[in-house]
């Protein structure tokens, strides 16, 4: 899926249940899902405020964390306020919040740390009124860095929690 650059992915037309940000891990992103998502349901470029592209790019799909921390920073709160407003306005979307850690830690601890970060984001969004049943959390620990240098400039980008939208009407 290298054919899709990050911007090209943002312009893709998305479909039911396809994750709307397949390139979120960097590198090749998720195999196949971007292509599978090519039949039209919701059109929208980053300039369309109801589009996932707007969510991912204009609002920002991620917040970053300090070393070993899971506290939402003030700038993170501003991003999450925007995410919460968008999710409230676009009730047909669910989200999985994916927590990540940098490579400076042991594998299993980093899984737990990523989970703690993802959960901090979920709790914040719920506190802003987003129904809890629309938000799931997971953690990739240090398994999916988006920047790959072994320096703080990269680590800072990898200590993140990314809100990944999926289009799926809530049934209950």
């Amino acid at each position: 899926m290298k054919v899709f650059s990050k911007t090209a992915v943002a312009l893709l037309i998305l479909t039911t249940a396809a994750c709307t940000n397949p390139d979120r891990f960097g590198g090749g992103g998720l195999d196949g899902q971007a292509a599978a998502g090519a039949d039209a349901q919701i059109a929208g470029s980053a300039s369309d405020p109801t589009s996932p592209a707007f969510f991912n790019q204009t609002i920002g799909d991620r917040v970053l964390f300090a070393v070993d921390q899971s506290t939402i920073t003030p700038s993170g709160q501003a991003v999450l306020d925007g995410q919460a407003r968008w999710l409230l306005a676009n009730a047909d979307y669910r989200a999985v919040i994916e927590g990540h850690a940098d490579e400076q830690g042991t594998r299993e601890y980093n899984l737990a740390l990523g989970f703690r970060r993802a959960n901090a984001v979920r709790e914040y969004l719920v506190s802003q009124g987003v129904p809890a049943n629309r938000l799931e959390v997971t953690s990739y620990g240090k398994e999916r860095p988006i920047e790959i240098c072994s320096a703080e400039s990269c680590y800072a980008q990898n200590r993140r929690a990314v809100t990944v939208l999926s289009f799926s009407a809530i049934t209950s």
Partner: protein, 437 residues
């Protein structure tokens, strides 16, 4: 004899001491690093067509023994005597003259796909056979196991300790760039031979652990997008997933000593604690209840205690509690952070990963936290696992930077004999299984 016992009890630091009088005996202790010298003439081929496998097995026995750092081969070019038959009397002066302390002779016979290997071990300086001749039978396809068994027997007779050569390691085979790494569960012989993949690369897999008898492997899989625990049957490669409630994340699984339960981490609402689930009944018990991260459990050999890591003090540290949970006592107090504790098979030591001042180390400490020793140092070392005899530790090492790759290394518990496990491609998260029957 009293001195010998003292040495045996002295923390099992590696490094041979050669008894100057009495039978050939390598007592593994600290301070002396002069290896035992041995000669291993190519094993006799006793049937037509056994020549190649006899050569291969001889070379493997040498590689196993020399690879420990405790033994040094006298090359065949130095030999005065030649061995032309397994039954031939040994001319000890010829082996003493080239300073071989031990002599290993062997013979190999092939009948169809059946292979028979026999060997004798001699203490050259006392002119005695050390133990009785032994014979192993198997298949030609399993010739490596036969070689490992010979080497295990030699190792065991000279050191008085169990061997570890006829054992397997389950690990994660890695390929691809750091930001799109493909991971597959794989199994290999302890020396990197006979790699077999147990899963494809469609989902991230992490941190496998062998069952006590080596029949099954527990690991964490992202098949569902959420970390879940799988149990894989090594022989059939069939697998099952542990039931986990929606919204929960399960990872860091280890078998109980009887292989009937799983001790693991469960995350719920951002908090991670340690639980035990019975694999037959599905009944589960919560073992820790703290708002901090509790993970990486490891049972003591008698199954009565669990060492684990927790950040309840603010940073990752090691704690020990009863296998049924309850109060935990902290055992790590040095500078830096401690994780991934693994109880040694002998019960006296805990191996761990230590992170301090931007470096990672593999180390060992006693179970009361005393006598901490760091065995390695690099940009990123982690995830120790013990050889079946508690003498060697295998771990993952990742190199720095965008092109960083992960490889497996082993080191003995004195910190000597650091070696890369020869594998094609990246590898991480080793779990060393038991000696094979």
């Amino acid at each position: 004899m009293k001195r010998l016992m003292t040495l045996l009890l002295a923390l099992f630091l590696a490094g041979p001491v050669m008894a100057q009088d009495g039978p050939l005996r390598l007592t593994i202790t600290d301070g002396v690093i002069e290896p035992i010298t041995f000669a291993a003439p190519v094993f006799q081929a006793e049937t037509a067509g056994a020549g190649q496998v006899a050569d291969d097995i001889s070379r493997l026995v040498v590689a196993d023994l020399a690879g420990t750092g405790l033994f040094r081969e006298i090359p065949s070019g130095a030999f005065i005597s030649q061995i032309s038959s397994f039954a031939q009397p040994i001319s000890f002066p010829d082996w003493r003259a080239i300073n071989a302390q031990a002599l290993i002779t062997g013979a190999v016979a092939v009948n169809g796909d059946q292979l028979t290997v026999k060997f004798r071990l001699y203490d050259v300086f006392s002119g005695q056979e050390l133990g009785q001749g032994l014979q192993f039978a198997g298949t030609t396809a399993g010739w490596r196991r036969m070689g490992h068994k010979v080497a295990d027997a030699v190792y065991s007779r000279i050191t008085g300790e169990g061997g570890y050569f006829d054992s397997r390691v389950v690990f994660v085979a890695e390929s691809g760039p750091k930001d799109n790494r493909q991971k597959r569960l794989a199994i290999m012989d302890y020396d990197g031979a006979n790699v077999q993949f147990l899963t494809d690369s469609s989902a991230i897999v992490l941190a496998p652990r062998f069952s006590p008898n080596g029949d099954r492997v527990l690991y964490t899989s992202f098949e569902s997008g959420f970390p879940r625990i799988n149990v894989l049957n090594v022989a059939t490669v069939g697998r099952q997933q542990l039931a986990t409630a929606p919204g929960e994340m399960a990872f860091s699984p280890r078998f109980s000593r009887d292989g009937q339960s799983v001790i693991y981490s469960l995350s719920n609402g951002g908090n991670t604690d340690i639980y035990r689930t019975d694999l037959t009944t599905g009944q589960h018990v919560r073992l820790t209840s703290a708002p901090s991260i509790e993970t990486a459990p490891s049972l003591s050999p008698d199954g009565s205690q669990i060492v684990f890591e927790s950040d309840r003090s603010g940073t990752q540290q090691l704690y020990i509690m009863s296998a049924n949970g309850g109060e935990a006592r902290r055992i790590s107090f040095g500078a830096g952070r401690y994780g991934t504790p693994v109880w040694s098979p002998r019960g006296d030591l805990v191996a761990f990963t230590k992170q301090n001042a931007g470096r990672f180390h593999i180390g060992v400490m006693r179970t009361d936290g005393s006598e901490e020793r760091l065995l390695t140092a690099s940009f990123l070392d982690e995830g120790p696992t013990w050889s079946p005899n508690g003498r060697v530790i295998m771990f993952s090492r990742e190199t720095q930077g965008a092109a960083g790759v992960t490889s497996l290394y082993s080191v003995d518990i004195s910190g000597r004999n650091l070696r890369a496990v020869p594998l094609q491609g990246g590898a991480s998260d080793p779990s060393w299984g038991p000696l094979q029957p």
